[in-house]
């Protein structure tokens, strides 16, 4: 703001030699600027030279003209401010200092252009002012050498207001501090510390990029396989237990079927329901191992009599047999319902013999299927098929590398 006001205060028609000492004082900025604006190591050597030029110019200026006097206080203010800047140099970013130098240079260039239209009345100050540029030129030359790209050669052009905030045309110089985005905020960190967070972000990216939809599918499949394995083992044991209980209750050569009906009629329907649940899970698991949907693979397994293929056939047969006994199970369930037509006398043998034999066959089938699957528990053609889904793995990795760039 002080620079803006000082620019407005400068006369446009009356030329006045403008040197660094006439430039408006720079005040430290509160907000950090773009890193590319920083000058880095170039700043320290220029500053002491500027101070010398300003001190020398101050010696020449003392008590000569009001125009000069008006500007005089400002250069007197400049050295202490610059001293303060030097002290603050360690804490503030180098952006402020560079931008201050740019404004000074812009002002100096504009001033030197104005010098050409000086009137006769100002010959004395001109002479003095000429001295100033002479003194300052030596200093300016060294300064301008490093910042030739920032020199404004167009005399008619006013100093643009937006140049204070626009990016310089010069090459960006590396600085010690870098602004890194963390948690949606920019934090200044040293370049030396960049290695650590970058590694963490890379690890985070690697961790998040591991789980793809294919991995989820594989995980679900493996989880179901474990559940199927448990169901198959439990089914085999439960079917054997059920058969033993039925034969024990039915007596020797099925002589006490009435006893069986009286003891077992409450368990018949729940046992049938549980049998269906376990058979469904076991059959689906067996189909998964064989990859039944892929006919070529399934046919190959069936023809080569692979254990998984045999087990799937046995489970499917057991399922059909079990479902065929649904009617009889409901009949047993309704034994004590008070309906005499369901169980006429002498009909127990007719209804129950087939039911007991089928239950025995189901137990044998599921037991054999479980034994076949146990010989090769790691065999799973569907999992192999799911793993081969991601064929183009290398382009995926390339795309992942491109995204953060």
């Amino acid at each position: 703001m002080s620079t803006m006001e000082n620019e407005k205060a400068q006369p446009t028609r009356t030329p006045q030699p403008v040197t660094n000492q006439h430039l408006p004082p720079l005040r430290p900025r509160a907000l950090p600027l773009m890193p590319s604006l920083d000058m880095g190591d170039e700043m320290p050597p220029t500053k002491p030279k500027k101070k010398k030029s300003k001190r020398e110019s101050n010696e020449v200026e003392d008590g000569d003209e009001p125009a000069v006097e008006r500007m005089a206080p400002e250069p007197q203010d400049i050295p202490p401010q610059k001293k303060k800047k030097k002290k603050k140099k360690k804490t503030q970013t180098l952006d402020l200092e560079r931008e201050g130098d740019h404004t000074q240079l812009d002002m100096a260039n504009g001033g030197t252009a104005v010098e050409q239209s000086v009137d006769g009345e100002d010959e004395a100050p001109k002479a003095r002012k000429k001295k100033k540029p002479k003194i300052g030129d030596r200093l300016h030359s060294s300064e301008l050498d490093s910042e030739d790209e920032d020199v404004i050669t167009n005399a008619a052009a006013a100093i643009p207001q937006h140049s204070l905030f626009s990016a310089p045309l010069g090459q960006s110089q590396p600085i010690s501090k870098v602004f890194v985005e963390r948690n949606r905020r920019f934090q200044a960190t040293d370049r030396t510390d960049l290695g650590k967070p970058s590694i963490q972000t890379d690890d985070y990216l690697e961790i998040t990029s591991v789980w793809s939809t294919r991995d989820v599918a594989l995980k679900v499949h493996s989880g179901f396989r474990v559940m199927g394995l448990f169901a198959q083992g439990f089914l085999a044991g439960y079917a054997v237990w059920n058969t033993i209980v039925v034969y024990v209750l039915a007596g020797e050569r099925l002589s006490s079927l009435t006893n069986l009906l009286q003891q077992y009629h409450t368990l018949a329907y729940p046992a049938q329901s549980l049998l269906y649940l376990l058979l469904a899970l076991s059959t689906v698991s067996a189909f998964d191992r064989v990859n039944l949907a892929k006919v070529s693979v399934a046919m190959k397994c069936f023809l080569t009599l692979e254990p998984a293929a045999l087990a799937s056939i046995l489970y499917f047969a057991a399922l059909i047999l079990s479902l065929s006994q649904q009617m009889t199970s409901d009949r047993i369930n309704l034994y004590n319902s008070g309906n005499g037509t369901l169980w006429p006398t002498g009909s127990e043998q007719r209804f129950l013999q087939n039911w007991i034999v089928v239950n025995l066959v189901v137990a044998v089938l599921v037991g054999l299927a479980w034994a076949f699957l146990s010989t090769r528990p790691e065999l799973d053609y569907t999992e192999e098929f799911l793993r081969t889904m991601d064929v183009d793995e290398v382009p995926h990795k390339e795309k992942k590398l491109e995204i953060p760039a």
């Binding site: 949606r184 998040t208 990029s209 789980w211 793809s212 939809t213 294919r214 991995d215 989820v216 599918a217 594989l218 679900v220 499949h221 179901f224 329907y269 729940p270 049938q272 329901s273 549980l274 269906y276 649940l277 058979l279 469904a280 899970l281 059959t283 689906v284 189909f287 998964d288 039944l292 949907a293 399922l319 059909i320 479902l323 065929s324 649904q326 009617m327 409901d330 009949r331 309704l334 319902s337 309906n339 369901l342 569907t382 799911l386 889904m389 991601d390 064929v391 183009d392 382009p395 995926h396 992942k400 995204i403």
Partner: protein, 205 residues
Amino acid sequence: MKAALKLLHGPKAGILILLLWLISGCRCFRIPSDVLACGFSAEMLQTNNYSLVLLIQLVLLAYDLFVNSFSELLRAAPVIQLVLFIIQDIAILFNVIIILLMMFNTYVFQVGLVSLLLERFRALLLLSALYLSLSISFHCWIMNLRWLDSNRFVWTDGLQVLFVFQRLSAVLYYYFYKRTAEYLGDPRLYEDSTWLRDAFARARQ
């Protein structure tokens, strides 16, 4: 206006809302740019959405298996079985809709290779239609027989055959549905690849 308000009451409202939610949830496979700008990778979001949809499908399948297994035990009152059967049929329908939406969300479908998808998942679509028709017919028949007295012996040979076919098709439906849902996790279906371009070239020929 009154008709629209009427739709917001009763079980139809729940079905409509659930259907809209499912559709919006399945559309989340397409990740919008503003979501990506929040720092989430496209792959991460797609995986999360896929996991959620897969979970919903598995829950519906589990419910279907539960009703098929234990509905015969829960017949203290006929209305209990009726409600269970209605929800089961709606769950089968929702499952079919979800799998179709998953197919529509694939890049393969959007490119125009509908025939490729239909050829791959033809077995599931046919089986789903068969299972749904068998389920509805069995449920209608058995509810009709048990409505006046749920503790009565209603089994006939025809009902027994229908029961066996319905339960067998259920097992096949579970297997093919689970497999299809896992197969739709193939990353190749959601992005451009040489495999897709070859398939497109073959389809054009």
